[in-house]
C-alpha cells in the first residue's frame, strides 16, 4: 500500500480507537438524543402531566367562570379549580402540594377585578404571566361592558393593524423563510465553528505529539513530510466525517420518531421540517473548505512547537481568527445584508462562516458565492504550499522558543541555496 494511505489510515484508526474520541462521541450522541427528545423529557418531569393546577378563591362569585373560559382559550395546560374554603385552608393546600398556586379574586372600588397570586415560590414566571393575561382579558371585557361597548366594537379596537413586509428584490426570501433560514444557519454556523476549532487543534496536537516524542525524525526519513502532512489532514478529516455521520444518523432517527411532539416547538418555528437542499450543500462545501484551510494552518503551526504544552499557545492566533469570524457571523444573522458582512465574506479566513451565512440568509448571485469559494480555494492552495515548506523545516527544529520567528527559521532550513 502507498505510504500516504498507510499514514492516513493509521491516523484515522488510531484516533477512532482512542478513548477520548469514543467518549466525546458518546457524550454528543447523548446530547443529540436529549435535544430531540426534549419534549418527552420535560413531560417526564412534570408530575401532573404537564398541567399546572391552580386553586381559585373567588370572593365575588362572578369572576371564576369568565377566567376559566379565558384560560381555556389561551393556555390549556393551566387547570383552574374553584376552591371552597378560607384563604388559610387554601394556602395550606398549596403548601401540601395539592395545587401549584392560589389566586385570590376580588373587585376593587370601581367594580373591576383585582387579584393576588400566591405560590410556594414565584420562580415560575410563565405561569404568572399566563394568569395575568387571562385576568387582563376578563378585566377588559368587564370594563368594556361598563361603557357599553359591544363585543364587535371591542374586537375592532384590538384588531392588529395590517402591516406587510414586501421585499422588492426578485427571489428574496419571505419573512417566514428568513426565520427558517436564520435557525438553520445558526445551527450550521455552530457546527462549522466547533468542528473547525476541535479538529484543527486535534491536528496541531497530533503533529506536536509526534515531534515531542521524537518519532518524527524516523517518520520523515521514511516518508516525505508533505505527504505526511496531507495524509494526516485527510485522516482527521475522515474522522470528523465519521463523527458527523454518527450524529446525523442518531439525530435523524430520533427526530423522526419524535416529530409529532417537536413539530409545534422550536423545530417547527425554525424550519427544520423542510430544510432547503441548497443550504445543506453549501454548508457541506464550506465546512470542508473551512476545515482544510484551518487544518493546514494548524498542521504547520503544530510542526513549529517542540512540546505539547506549547501547542495551545501557538494556535491561539488561529483560534482567534475563527472566533472573530464566528462573532461577525453572529452579528450578521440579524443584518445579513450589511456592507460590512458582504466585505468580510470575501476574506478567506472568514469566508466559510460569513459567505455561508449570506448564501443561507440572502438570495445572492451565484457568482458571488463562487468568487468567495474560489478565493478560499486559492488561499488553501497557497497555504498548503507555504505550510508544507514550514512543516518540512519545522519538524527538524527543536528548542525552547515557539515564536513566529521560527517560521522564518523553518523556511531557511528547507531553502536550497
Amino acid at each position: 500500500m502507498n505510504s500516504f494511505w498507510i499514514i492516513l489510515f493509521h491516523t484515522y484508526l488510531n484516533k477512532l480507537k482512542s478513548k477520548s474520541f469514543i467518549i466525546t462521541t458518546l457524550m454528543t450522541v447523548v446530547i443529540v438524543l436529549g435535544l430531540t427528545n426534549i419534549q418527552n423529557i420535560i413531560d417526564l418531569f412534570d408530575k401532573n402531566g404537564g398541567k399546572d393546577s391552580i386553586a381559585v378563591l373567588d370572593e365575588t362569585g362572578q369572576l371564576y367562570e369568565p377566567l376559566k373560559q379565558q384560560m381555556k382559550a389561551t393556555n390549556n395546560d393551566i387547570k383552574l379549580t374553584q376552591y371552597k374554603g378560607t384563604e388559610k385552608e387554601a394556602e395550606k393546600a398549596v403548601e401540601e402540594g395539592k395545587y401549584n398556586g392560589l389566586i385570590l379574586l376580588r373587585f376593587n372600588g370601581e367594580q373591576l377585578p383585582e387579584a393576588t397570586y400566591k405560590a410556594m415560590s414565584i420562580a415560575d414566571s410563565s405561569l404568572f404571566a399566563d394568569l395575568q393575561i387571562g385576568l387582563q382579558q376578563v378585566k377588559t371585557m368587564l370594563a368594556a361592558s361598563k361603557i357599553n361597548l359591544t363585543p364587535e366594537q371591542l374586537q375592532k379596537l384590538y384588531e392588529p393593524v395590517a402591516f406587510d413586509k414586501v421585499a422588492l428584490e426578485k427571489d428574496a426570501k419571505t419573512e417566514e423563510e428568513l426565520n427558517q433560514a436564520r435557525g438553520l444557519v445558526y445551527v450550521l454556523l455552530f457546527v462549522i465553528y466547533f468542528s473547525v476549532i476541535m479538529y484543527a487543534s486535534m491536528i496541531a496536537t497530533e503533529v506536536a505529539t509526534e515531534k515531542s516524542s521524537r518519532v518524527m525524525e524516523i517518520l520523515i526519513s521514511s516518508v516525505s513530510p508533505i505527504k505526511q502532512m496531507f495524509a494526516k489532514i485527510i485522516g482527521i478529516g475522515l474522522l470528523s466525517m465519521t463523527q458527523f455521520a454518527v450524529f446525523l444518523i442518531v439525530g435523524y432517527y430520533s427526530l423522526m420518531s419524535n416529530m409529532d411532539s417537536l413539530k409545534d416547538g422550536f423545530f417547527g418555528v425554525y424550519g427544520f421540517g423542510s430544510i432547503p437542499t441548497a443550504t445543506i450543500v453549501y454548508a457541506v462545501i464550506f465546512f470542508i473548505l473551512g476545515y482544510f484551510l484551518y487544518a493546514t494552518l494548524a498542521a504547520f503551526l503544530g510542526s513549529l512547537v517542540s512540546r505539547i504544552e506549547d501547542v495551545q499557545q501557538m494556535i491561539t492566533p488561529m483560534t482567534l481568527l475563527i472566533v472573530g469570524g464566528f462573532m461577525i457571523a453572529m452579528f450578521g444573522l440579524g443584518k445579513p445584508d450589511a456592507a460590512f458582512i458582504t466585505a468580510t465574506s470575501y476574506i478567506p479566513f472568514f469566508t466559510p462562516m460569513i459567505m455561508f451565512l449570506r448564501v443561507g440568509m440572502l438570495t445572492i448571485p451565484v457568482w458571488e458565492a463562487v468568487l468567495g469559494i474560489a478565493l478560499l480555494v486559492a488561499t488553501i492552495i497557497a497555504l498548503a504550499i507555504f505550510g508544507a515548506r514550514v512543516y518540512r523545516g519545522g519538524v527538524l527544529m527543536y528548542g525552547r522558543s515557539n515564536s513566529f520567528k521560527d517560521i522564518k527559521q523553518a523556511l531557511e532550513l528547507t531553502k536550497n541555496e
Binding site: 505510504s3 518519532v215 525524525e217 524516523i218 526519513s221 521514511s222 532550513l413
Partner: protein, 299 residues
Amino acid sequence: MVLKLEHVTKRFGSFTAVDDLSLTIPEKEMFGFLGANGAGKTTTFRMILGLLDASAGSITWDGNPLNYSTSHLVGYLPEERGLYPKLKVREQIVYLARLRGMAKADALKELKIWLEKFKVPEYENKRVEELSKGNQQKIQFIAAVIHKPKLLILDEPFSGLDPVNVEMLKEAVLALKENGTTIVFSSHQMHHVEEMCEHLCILHKGRPVVYGALKEIKRAFGKKNLIIHADFSLEFLKDFPGVVKTKPTTEGAELQIEGERVAESILKEIVGKGFIRKFALEEPSLNDIFIEKVGDSYE
C-alpha cells in the same frame, strides 16, 4: 553501491554546519563518524537521508541521489530517541516497517526474531512508555533495521546503554555488517569506533580533519605511546629529545614519543638506573589522535 559525498557544504544562514566534506564509504563496510557536539555529524546524516538539502555538493549512493523512492533500502536510528509512547511495540514496529515498504506479515515475523535476539519477547504487546529507556532503544534499533536495509545510519547507537546492552547491540550491528549492510555510525566513544570500523572520519567544526582507514591513520600519525613502570624517577625524560608529552603515573610514566627510535634511545638511557618492571611501546589510540587533531580533550 558506494556512498559518495562530494564537496558537500551546508550553511544555515551565516553559519556553516558542514564545510566541503568529501567522503567515500565503501559497500559492506562500517564507517565511523567522530566529532564533538555541533561538529556536523547529525547534519551530515540528515543530508545523506535527504531530510536536508546540501547548500553545495552532491551525495550519491550507487551513482543516484538518495530520496524517498529509496527509503526502503535505508535504515536510520536518529540521535534523539523516540517512539509513540502510547502505542504497543507491535503496532509501532509494524507501522514504521510498512512505511519502509514492508508487508505486515513479514514485519511481524521479523519483529519476533529480533525480540528473541534481544531476549525480550514479552515486550511485543507492551506500550513503549512502560519500557525502560534502554529497552526503548532496543525497540528503536529494531525499527531501524527490520526492513533489512542496504544502508544503515546509526546516530550515537550506544549512548545511554548499560555495558550488557552495548555488547548485545554491538553483536547485532556486526552481524548486520557480515550480512552485507553498509553501516555508517557516529559515536562519542572513541573505543567503539576503534573496535568496529575499518574507515572513519573525524569532523571538527564541519570540516573533516582526519579521514581514511583506521590503520593508515594510525600509521600516518607516527607518534607512539610508551609506558614505563620503574622504581626510579622518570622526571628527566620530560626534556628528552623526541618526547612530546609526559604524564606521570603512580608506577612510572606514560610518554608520547615521535617514533620507535626514540623508544630505543630512552631504553638505552634508563637501563642501569634501576629496576624496570615494564617497558611497552604501543600504537596511538584514536583518542590521542582526536585530541591532537581537534585540539582539546573530548572524552
